[in-house]
């Protein structure tokens, strides 16, 4: 759907043949073995260009069943020592909303990116705020901006916008007039 629309003259997505780091490949193997059937995709990403910044990324994609996500995060924190939640973001793809969590290991410096697609009308994924406290405000911000309901979040309130704001500004169909008197 929305993915297929490209403007004329769009450059191709860069690819790379450089094999991923040994740490990343081993971690992807362990995730694949322990979470087979629960995740739809595990990949140690091929780094593009180390001259820009060293890349050590593992991508984990969940299907429509989001239930194993929280158990996976706990496993990642306790067994694999991913002690830091770097970033939480949601992207409005017009036909779905994608929620990404970027998790970081302070010893191996590997980043795991978990990605889950959710319905655009009632976007909802499990929360990581009970696993990493640092995810608390990052998830609140995504709720504020895109209206994603992080199930089980201890304190899901608006953080940057006023509490009586109407609508979610970072959605593609947001109209500033709908925000009421605030704009």
């Amino acid at each position: 759907m929305a993915d297929a629309i490209l403007p004329p003259g769009a450059p191709p997505v860069p690819t790379s043949d450089t094999p991923p780091d040994a740490d990343c490949a081993a971690l992807a193997g362990r995730i694949g073995a322990a979470w087979a059937g629960k995740v739809t995709e595990v990949a140690a990403l091929n780094p593009l260009n180390h001259g820009i910044q060293r890349e050590r990324n593992v991508l984990v994609r969940f299907g429509s069943d989001h239930r194993p996500m929280e158990a996976f995060w706990r496993w990642l924190r306790d067994e694999e020592k991913f002690e830091h939640c770097s970033l939480v973001l949601a992207i409005d793809h017009l036909d779905r909303i994608e929620v990404k969590h970027l998790l970081f290991n302070y010893t191996t410096h590997v980043t795991v990116e978990t990605s889950a697609d959710t319905d655009r009308l009632e976007p909802s994924v499990p929360t990581a705020a009970l696993v990493w406290r640092g995810a608390n405000w990052l998830e609140r911000e995504q709720y504020d901006m895109l209206g994603v309901d992080f199930r089980g979040h201890p304190d899901l309130r608006r953080v940057l916008l006023p509490e009586d704001w109407i609508g979610f500004p970072l959605r593609k169909d947001f109209e500033y007039r709908q925000a009421g008197e605030w704009w």
């Binding site: 450059p11 860069p14 593009l48 820009i52 060293r54 830091h84 970033l87 302070y106 640092g134 953080v159």
Partner: protein, 364 residues
């Protein structure tokens, strides 16, 4: 005998001398002990991420400079670096060294400004003007290079807008040597200063496990004993070729956070000195496309306040589809309640100043 202690909420801010910006720290006190805290942010929200979706890549650059008015050089370079990563574009070697020099100079200015403001919070008005005075020399240098004292507009996609000249490089070294010497003066003044030690040592403590779990980054994390610096761990630009140390303290209190920042000023001086000596000749601006592929890319930087990240998603055309900034101070503020619990009301200015907030980047 049962003594009834009344609990109440106190608003510190949104307009208060020790907030350094426009935010509101609500604390719940039982007598004089803090039992709960709830920071309120968002007074300065300018919807930078939404504005950037409507702009071409380079047009968005001046807006990212307004993210943080103390460390603007770091934030523009972060955004431009993320766009370059999206285009898979590597900058020329000379540009990599120029970026290291200007970002480290900006880090020195930011830490000096923090030090001046922080000692002022604690009540040490003599010391307030010293770091601010030294900061002016750094700002003069960057003004000589870019023409602006605060909003520099210096990087471009693929390099820099203007080359550095010998005068700038020579003066950078002189200024860094001078600031390096001055840090010894600050150290001598503060580390023998009894009121300063009483108000910072053992105040606002957070232990290593909690600091990591709460998402603290940057000097606040290193003050809790975690040896992690993005410039060392995942080097970008020329940082991999330069020799510098990462100061780490185990105490996790306000004093350790001050020590980490003070020593980072020295390390930054060291980095600038080496980068000026090693800077290669050649191009400072490469060729860059105007359009980016339809994919997602992000970079991780060491901002003066912590780990900053920028994620850019392209549309295949001239403008981004989604831009997301990770603001280190935003997450550090969310960890503030953990540092405040159990301390008393007079400790609040020293704890809230010690994480170095910059509201421009928190609210975006």
């Amino acid at each position: 005998m049962v003594v009834a202690v009344a609990e109440m909420w106190i608003n510190i801010g949104p307009s208060h001398p020790s907030t350094h910006g426009l935010w509101d720290l609500r604390i719940k006190v039982s007598g004089e002990v803090i039992v709960d805290a709830d920071p309120q942010v968002g007074y300065l929200h300018r919807s930078v991420e939404k504005i950037l979706e409507r702009k071409e890549f380079l047009m968005g650059m001046p807006i990212t400079e307004r993210l943080c008015y103390v460390a603007n050089m770091n934030w523009t370079h972060l955004y431009i670096h993320a766009v370059e990563r999206l285009m898979n574009l590597e900058v020329p070697d000379r540009a990599k060294y120029i970026r290291v020099i200007v970002c480290e100079l900006n880090r020195i200015a930011s830490h000096l400004f923090w030090l001046g403001a922080y000692v002022h919070d604690i009540g040490n008005l003599t010391m307030f003007l010293w770091p601010i005075r030294e900061r002016e020399y750094v700002l003069d240098l960057l003004e000589y290079l870019t023409g602006a004292r605060m909003m520099y507009n210096y990087p471009r996609i693929g390099g820099q807008v203007k080359d550095v000249d010998d005068k700038f490089l020579r003066r950078s070294k002189i200024v860094c040597a001078m600031i390096n010497e001055q840090t010894a003066t600050y150290e001598k003044f503060l580390d023998n200063n009894h009121p300063w030690l009483v108000r910072t040592k053992g105040v606002g403590t957070i232990d290593k496990a909690m600091a990591k779990n709460a998402g603290l980054t940057g000097p606040s994390l290193r003050a809790s004993g975690v040896d992690y610096d993005t410039r060392k761990a995942l080097p970008y630009w020329a940082y991999g070729d330069l020799d510098f140390d990462v100061p780490v303290y185990d105490e996790g209190d306000c004093w350790a956070r001050y020590r980490v920042r003070l020593e980072e000023i020295r390390e930054s001086c060291k980095i600038v000195r080496q980068a000026v000596d090693d800077i290669p000749a050649g191009e400072y601006l490469g060729k860059a496309p105007r359009v980016a592929p339809k994919t997602c890319a992000w970079v991780r930087h060491e901002d003066p306040r912590g780990e900053s990240m920028c994620l850019v998603m392209g549309t295949g055309g001239k403008n981004p589809y989604r831009v997301k900034f990770r603001s280190p101070a935003f997450v550090n503020i969310s960890a503030l309640p953990l540092m405040l619990l159990g301390f008393k009301v007079p400790d609040v200015p020293s704890i809230m100043g010690s994480i170095d907030v910059c509201i421009g980047e928190v609210d975006r």
